[in-house]
């Protein structure tokens, strides 16, 4: 997320000082008022702390690693203004001495990561935590969600800044700086954050606050004014049972989905997500649910027992996902970007020529994700029959992809092993 020099017009990167410089001035003033002379060593050491935890690689599900920023954690404990100064110092040193992020870009990098991030994180945390006791589990959740939103907001800002470049600074039709418009830069930054860095930041912040609650509660209670913005009860360190957490998050997730559906459907429950739900025959759906249930009851345990140890959990989840996928057939209308030529012509009234050419090049054996048999694909085939066809083609596809990947992996390891055994004298271990 550190923008290097050259990606942005200097007008933008130096111009960000309009936000950053006053923020630094206010931060110095505010922090001095709270902590007087103690400020200097405290901030210097917390900046060093911020720098150090930015170097930590955190294991992410899927085998890669990501970095944390730790801004929200510092903001929760020391307040957002102290976090502004601490993270700014760390960022300036990274740019000056370690080449991470540009030097002209210091202002804009500090605006994104040292001003926007801790403020969004901290105020989300305060909003969710409310007046709950200092050592309650709710504050752990609040800090985690705050951190998630804080770093996502920073990513959104970076995407916007990069996306504005070709709009503001172009010459003869070609972009002078970062070449991607808002339409590409914002989704790229948002997606990569929401699916990766933000989750990590949220997890680490939540676990970090939980660690402080359990082992060093004095930091949360002695700085009560900052942590909670007033006097609240200390409370006890609580551990919420995992089923409660799952239930609460499931209910919240469903509620959010429902609200989104109502908004997109214009407030009419029969038109949720903009689809015409009255055209669905619910008895068909019931039969289909039954069939899908039976198939998943058979396949998921099979996957669990058939797969080797380390793949068990992931494999079973994937199988469940694949089996449940045909439930999407219930929704009236076609999936975005997946429609066939007929669907497209129905929806838009014409067929783009390129699409027509392309669709004739390759006709798949299971076209339309269905088995070309009268039973599953007939003109008046019922929903549940289509679902069975969908299931069969899906499972065949997964097996096919699995076989190809397995075969390739087998070939690669085999060739590597033979070359290794051919020349045993040269198998030096490369230092990592």
């Amino acid at each position: 997320m550190h923008i290097p020099d050259g990606y942005l017009s200097p007008i933008v990167s130096v111009g960000a000082g309009v936000v950053t410089l006053p923020a630094w001035a206010i931060a110095t003033h505010r922090v001095k008022a709270v902590l007087n002379h103690r400020t200097v060593p405290l901030l210097a050491i917390f900046a060093a702390f911020a720098f150090t935890i930015m170097m930590f690689n955190i294991p992410v599900p899927g085998g890669t690693t990501a970095h944390a920023v730790g801004g929200t954690l510092i903001a929760v404990v020391l307040g957002p203004w102290a976090a502004v100064l601490g993270i700014s110092m760390a960022l300036i040193l990274q740019a000056l001495f370690f080449g991470d992020g540009g030097i002209l870009a210091i202002f804009i990098n500090c605006m994104n990561m040292a001003v926007a991030l801790p403020f969004v994180g901290y105020y989300t945390y305060r909003l969710i935590a409310g007046r709950s006791p200092l050592l309650s589990a709710r504050r752990v959740w609040a800090a985690g969600i705050g951190a998630f939103l804080g770093i996502t907001a920073a990513g959104l800002l970076v995407g916007t800044e990069l996306g504005l470049q070709p709009i503001l600074f172009s010459e003869n039709g070609h972009a002078l700086y970062s070449p991607y418009g808002l339409g590409e830069a914002i989704p790229a930054m948002l997606l990569s954050h929401v699916l990766g860095a933000s989750i990590v930041e949220g997890l680490v912040t939540a676990l970090g606050v939980a660690y402080l609650q359990k082992n060093h509660p004095e930091y949360l209670t002695s700085l009560k004014n900052i942590v909670a913005g007033g006097s609240v009860a200390e409370g006890q360190v609580t551990r919420r049972p995992i089923w409660q957490t799952i239930t609460v998050s499931a209910v919240i997730g469903l509620a959010v989905l429902l609200i989104c559906g109502l908004i997109t459907g214009g407030g009419d429950p029969a038109k949720m997500f903009g689809a015409e739900w009255s055209s669905v025959s619910w008895s068909d759906v019931a039969v289909m649910l039954l069939i899908v249930g039976i198939i998943s009851a058979a396949l998921v345990p099979l996957a669990w027992f058939a797969l080797p140890g380390r793949l068990k959990k992931t494999g079973a989840w994937f199988t469940a996902g694949a089996v449940l996928a045909p439930l999407g057939l219930i929704a009236p209308g076609f999936a975005y970007g997946e429609g066939s030529v007929d669907d497209v012509s129905q929806a838009f009234g014409y067929v783009p020529k390129g699409l027509q050419d392309l669709s004739n090049i390759f006709s798949a054996p299971f076209s339309g994700y269905n088995v070309p048999l009268g039973f599953t694909n007939g003109n008046n085939s019922q929903l549940w029959r289509a679902a069975i066809g969908y299931e069969i083609s899906g499972i065949a596809g997964i097996l096919l992809v699995g076989l190809i990947v397995y075969g390739l992996a087998f070939l690669i390891t085999r060739t590597r092993r033979t070359t290794a055994s051919d020349t045993p004298a040269t198998t030096e271990v490369q230092p990592q």
């Binding site: 110095t28 060593p41 050491i45 060093a48 150090t52 690689n57 404990v77 676990l207």
Partner: protein, 294 residues
């Protein structure tokens, strides 16, 4: 042959699972070691007797800002190439190891800036000299796309080279002090130099924590355990930060700290410094303006 090598090649060792398991630890350790090494390396070069090392740090900062601004504002490939040539010359006269300077810049840039800019080569509208057709699609790099990408990569390369040059030829304490010339408040400079000093202490503690963990844990740990351990160490480091800041404050009070920051300023701009500054800024301005007349 060392023990680790013979273990690696031993036939009984079937799957290299441990390596995957400890990847995140080793990555962090390597990253920390890299930054410490870089800091040591930088200090070493900043004490050499070269052209840039002899120039007053404030003049150097001014030269750097002038050059970087010129690189950011100029839109022609040749102007950027000229600026890069100047940076190479300066590196040569300042005894910065040539292969280090060139390698460090050009190994990093194709990976980041290059990958970022690659798709735009194909999507920028314009003439396509090397195109092939698939169905009704025409695929190939466009001329404006290629020109834009070359300028973009060159600009990032010049900016990065200049930053490397500034940092490698200036001791960090001088560099921080020179920020006073830009009217950065004293308190900020004090904070920055204290932070820089404590970074190495913290990096050292982090290395210790990671090495201890690495040497005492065998077998498979789940991702959840790993993340818990990491956030535990973040919390632990935070605790140490609090304690240390109290101790440092007590020590500062004991030595008469009153909140006033004073620093000794021993810098003196000589005629040579002024000459270098004026000449560089003129060249930088020339590189930007030249385009208007060519």
């Amino acid at each position: 042959m060392s023990i680790s090598v013979s273990l690696e090649t031993a036939p009984a060792r079937k799957k290299p699972k441990q390596k995957e398991q400890l990847g995140w630890l080793e990555k962090t350790l390597a990253g920390i070691a890299g930054s410490i090494e870089q800091a040591v390396f930088t200090e070493e070069h900043s004490r050499k007797d070269g052209w840039l090392q002899r120039i007053d740090p404030r003049a150097k900062l001014g030269m750097f800002i002038g050059m970087v601004l010129a690189a950011s504002f100029s839109n022609s490939f040749w102007a950027l190439a000229f600026l890069y040539g100047l940076a190479l010359l300066a590196a040569r006269f300042s005894r910065v190891p040539f292969d280090f300077f060139v390698k460090r810049v050009w190994l990093g840039i194709p990976f980041f800036a290059g990958i970022v800019v690659l798709p735009s080569i194909f999507f920028t509208p314009g003439e396509r000299p090397l195109a092939f057709t698939v169905g009704s699609w025409v695929i190939g790099p466009t001329l404006p796309g290629l020109v834009g990408a070359a300028i973009f990569i060159m600009r990032v390369a010049v900016s990065v080279s200049l930053a490397v040059l500034l940092v490698v030829t200036t001791p960090w304490s001088d560099l921080l002090k020179s920020l006073q010339a830009l009217h950065v408040p004293h308190i900020f400079i004090l904070l920055l130099s204290m932070t820089y000093r404590y970074i190495f202490l913290f990096l050292r503690s982090a290395v210790d924590m990671f090495e201890v963990r690495k040497s005492r844990v065998v077998g498979y740990t789940s991702g959840h355990d790993q993340r818990r351990w990491i956030s535990g160490s973040v919390g632990n480091l935070m605790n140490r930060s609090f304690k240390m800041s109290n101790e440092v404050y007590a020590a500062m009070l004991a030595r008469g700290f009153t909140g006033q920051v004073r620093s000794i300023n021993t810098f003196r701009m000589t005629g040579r410094d002024w000459l270098a500054l004026v000449l560089t800024v003129a060249l930088a301005a020339g590189a930007v303006i030249a385009r208007r007349f060519l």
